[in-house]
């Protein structure tokens, strides 16, 4: 071992985990023992100062007041929580009946082609669109109109 502790060995002595040889050296070497004591004293002074700061602060603010404030805050928090939950439920219930009253979209397929001209037109259009190729779509309307007139004429 060198004459004095290395920095790593010094830190190991302060933190804990130093080897037996390092601990023995601290016991025998005055300089290293003094340095360890001074640094340890600085750390304990730091601890004591923080403690004093807290003690003075706590003595001016009793702990039981904090307990009451914490309970009051919890009551306020839970009240806001339930108010928010009630508002959400109210909004959901408010909008749900409106959606149920909406009329369902008209389904053209179920309309009677015999009585409803629109339904008849749509039925013919669908038939023609299945049989005519896409490029002939512009003729769809005119062909559908002649067929309807022809059908109606034939029915007479």
């Amino acid at each position: 071992m060198t004459q004095h502790l290395s920095e790593d060995a010094f830190v190991a002595v302060v933190v804990g985990g130093a080897t037996a040889a390092e601990r023995k050296h601290v016991e025998t070497c005055v300089a290293c023992r003094t340095e360890v004591a001074q640094f340890s004293h600085a750390l304990s002074s730091f601890r004591a100062t923080v403690g004093r700061r807290i003690d003075v602060h706590v003595s001016s603010r009793p702990a039981n007041r904090v307990g009451r404030e914490t309970r009051a805050e919890s009551v306020r928090t839970s009240v806001w929580y339930w108010l928010a939950a009630t508002a959400v439920v109210t909004l959901v219930l408010f909008f749900m009946p409106a959606r149920n009253h909406e009329a369902p979209p008209a389904v053209i397929e179920h309309a009677s082609v015999d009585t409803d001209p629109d339904a008849l037109m749509d039925a013919v259009g669908r038939h023609l669109s299945r049989t005519l190729p896409a490029p002939m779509e512009p003729l769809l309307a005119s062909v559908a109109g002649e067929d309807v007139q022809g059908d109606t004429n034939e029915g007479k």
Binding site: T49, V58, G67
Partner: protein, 189 residues
């Protein structure tokens, strides 16, 4: 048969540690000071420390059904406090336009030991200020390990439980913290 105490921070009621946290007033009266001390040393702002400590105790009381009794109540509270400190630090990073005022070194070593002579008091104040400034530059884990060891005087095993690290990792963080502090204090060889 009463269980053997496993650390310095054993609960008051060793047969049923959970009972201690059932009463918020008892929880506050026993643990307000030690938790506030650790949180203040971490965040360096008394108002923030009070808020975090209050949140910590309230959270512990609300979630007392989650306390399994596998550690002391003090350890459990410190674990909650560390998470709250981390959340606070994360929020502060986003609020770059509203940095909370920090307690300066002057404010901390304005609380000298009245038993010391004036010359010794000045020397101690300088040392305390140096350590206080040096801990500011540590990483979060190093600072936490350092404060738990040298302010709260926790054992390595307790620190490992609080921080959720292995004892080896705690040793490494402590090592680096003390080395960094000595370097910033200018007393490394």
């Amino acid at each position: 048969m009463n269980p053997m105490p496993t650390s310095l921070f054993t609960p008051v009621n060793m047969e049923n540690p959970a009972r201690e946290i059932d009463d918020i007033d008892r929880l506050v009266s026993h643990y307000w000071t030690p938790v506030l001390r650790f949180v203040f040393a971490s965040v360096r702002d008394m108002d923030v420390a009070e808020t975090v400590t209050q949140d910590c105790l309230w959270k512990a009381h609300r979630r007392r059904h989650l306390f399994r009794g596998d550690c002391s109540v003090h350890t459990w509270l410190l674990r909650i406090a560390i998470n709250l400190i981390r959340d606070h630090a994360r929020k502060q990073r986003w609020r770059f336009w509203n940095k909370a005022p920090r307690v300066s070194s002057d404010a901390l070593h304005a609380w000298p030991d009245s038993r010391l002579s004036p010359e010794d008091a000045v020397l101690v104040q300088e040392q305390v200020a140096a350590v206080w400034d040096a801990t500011r530059a540590l990483s979060a884990k190093q600072r936490t390990a350092f404060l738990l060891r040298f302010v709260e005087e926790c054992e390595i095993s307790e620190i490992a439980q609080v921080m959720g690290l292995s004892e080896n990792a705690v040793h490494v963080n402590l090592f680096r913290a003390v080395r960094a502090i000595r370097k910033r204090m200018g007393i490394t060889p």
